[in-house]
């Protein structure tokens, strides 16, 4: 056995380098952002505590709050389209991959289907913009130039890129389903359809929660695709503005908008709080369900 003193010292030495970089460049900036949202910086470098004033401004100023709610609403749609289309596709493909009728081709399919997810979002955006450009004649309608179709179009580009992610999560869960369970059902005469829905599916249900929460975090952190296609004031008429572009515009500035670091930190904190709340609710629900199963 190791002596406790040795253990504590070793722990410290082994963990310290990773911990230092992680705290300094990930945790600390997030905390500083929260603090900055409570201050108002003057041009001379001074900083005064203003409490919730930045938040009140963000939520009540006519134009600023309208842009915020617009971006939040768009982001919710962006998230919903991702989940509602990606998850069923991912489930279908994972079910096909693990249906037991594939042999050596299983790995090849899995790799090929995941390739779009390895591309940079910038490249995905431009590939699709070229393809749907009316100049090229494949699509006759300017999908990105219309306030109603622009956001769904961009969301579908995201779906095209990332359907491999739910596929991989569900695939990993499906191959973990014990084989004798499946075999036993088959010997009893169950069809592959029944085997899937009655035996495999209930065992992978927990994965859906994980996929939804990860998609939530990724889409509410989204920026690259919209920025690459439509810049930092994403049109037409802000119909594709999401929280990431709003945040960027607020602290970086854009044509017609002056950069405001304090307000940027406020936007960041609002997004952060929202993510924390949703993640906390998710884990609370999962914990409760696990406990319910245990008793």
């Amino acid at each position: 056995m190791i002596r406790p003193a040795t253990a504590r010292l070793s722990l410290l030495l082994f963990v310290l380098p990773a911990l230092a970089i992680y705290l300094c460049f990930a945790v600390l900036p997030l905390l500083l952002s929260v603090i900055q949202s409570l201050f108002d910086s003057g041009k001379d470098g001074s900083s005064t505590f203003v409490g919730a004033a930045n938040y009140i401004y963000l939520f009540t100023h006519e134009l600023v709050s309208a842009r915020f709610w617009n971006a939040l609403g768009n982001n919710a749609k962006y998230f919903a389209i991702h989940v509602l289309i990606e998850v069923p596709i991912g489930l279908l493909l994972a079910a096909m991959l693990t249906s037991g009728v594939l042999r050596r081709s299983e790995g090849t399919y899995r790799t090929l289907l995941f390739i779009p997810a390895t591309l940079s979002v910038v490249i995905v955006g431009f590939i699709w913009r070229l393809i749907i450009n009316p100049l090229w004649g494949i699509v006759g309608f300017p999908l990105l130039g219309n306030t109603i179709t622009a956001l769904p179009t961009i969301s579908l580009m995201g779906v095209w890129q990332y359907f491999g992610i739910p596929m991989v999560f569900l695939y990993s869960a499906l191959i973990a389903v014990p084989n004798d369970l499946v075999e036993a059902a088959r010997i009893d005469g169950a069809t592959p359809w029944r085997v899937f829905w009655s035996i495999k599916f209930p065992l992978v249900v927990p994965q859906f929660g994980l996929i939804v929460i990860l998609t939530f975090i990724w889409t509410f952190n989204g920026f690259d695709l919209v920025f690459a296609l439509n810049g930092s004031a994403p049109g037409p008429n802000y119909s594709t503005d999401i929280l990431g572009t709003l945040f960027y515009r607020t602290f970086f500035g854009s044509s017609g908008q002056v950069a405001d670091l304090d307000l940027g930190a406020t936007v960041a904190t609002v997004i952060f709080t929202m993510m924390l709340a949703v993640t906390a609710i998710y884990f609370w629900l999962v914990q409760r369900r696990l406990k319910a199963h245990a008793t």
Binding site: S10, W136, I217, D224, A228
Partner: protein, 288 residues
Amino acid sequence: MTDLSLNARGLNDRQPWTLERIGVHAVLLLFVAIALGPILLVIMNSLKTTPAIFGGPFTLPTSETFSLAGYQRVFTRGNILINYRNSLFVTVTSVVLTVVLSTLAAFALVEYRVRGVAILAGLFIVGVMLPIRLGTIPLIEIMIGLKLMDTLWALILVYTAMSIPLGVTLMMTYFRTVPTELKEAARVDGATEWTTFTIVLPLVRPGLAAVATVTMLPIWNDLWFPLILAPNKANQTVTLGVQQFVGQFLNDYPALLAALTLGAVPLVLLFAVFSRQFIRGLSAGYGK
């Protein structure tokens, strides 16, 4: 899906083409076409002349329509070689740092059951979901303070910090599989903690590969931090370089398609080689 419901005759049947198998292959091939079609369309058209790109986007380049002019313009007018060098340097350095630091930390977090270790491990695990971009404003100030603004090292530090939680979480699952007897035997022989670590290390090699592949993609593909922390032309990564190039040459279709191809192909190839490790890393890292 309906093909699945058909009662396949004899499930252990080794006969190659049952209806069920045909159905499964058909669905998968359809989605492979959806996934790869747009990429192949871009690669194919990048090798053609402008009139041919518009005249027949779906036809393969012929001896008359074949042209590498787009690539030529990307190499002469863009900074694609500098972009590659920058992306390579940033990605490799960040991934190596992540793998080394995460492995050290994960070993200790699994090994030393002292008070507070669970909280420390938890601190890393919650970081997997931490939206680090939201700390960008203070990060800019930190980088200015460290005189690292608009350098590749700013990116490396941020990407390492961003990847460490996933690296630690993943490596912990691998270290848990190492038999205790091995470590105890080493210690009985008088091995120091560092020697014990080096003895265990070969056993977690698959974990190192998983961490490396799973953290590499988001780093190479990121647009946000290069745009904000290292926008200078000399420091642009491939993702930012392609983004800027495409913005400048909006009507030069052959050059656009060539730039997109050059941006996409290296990573796709790399992924094709390491896809097994990647997929294992992805599901083990987040599936906690």
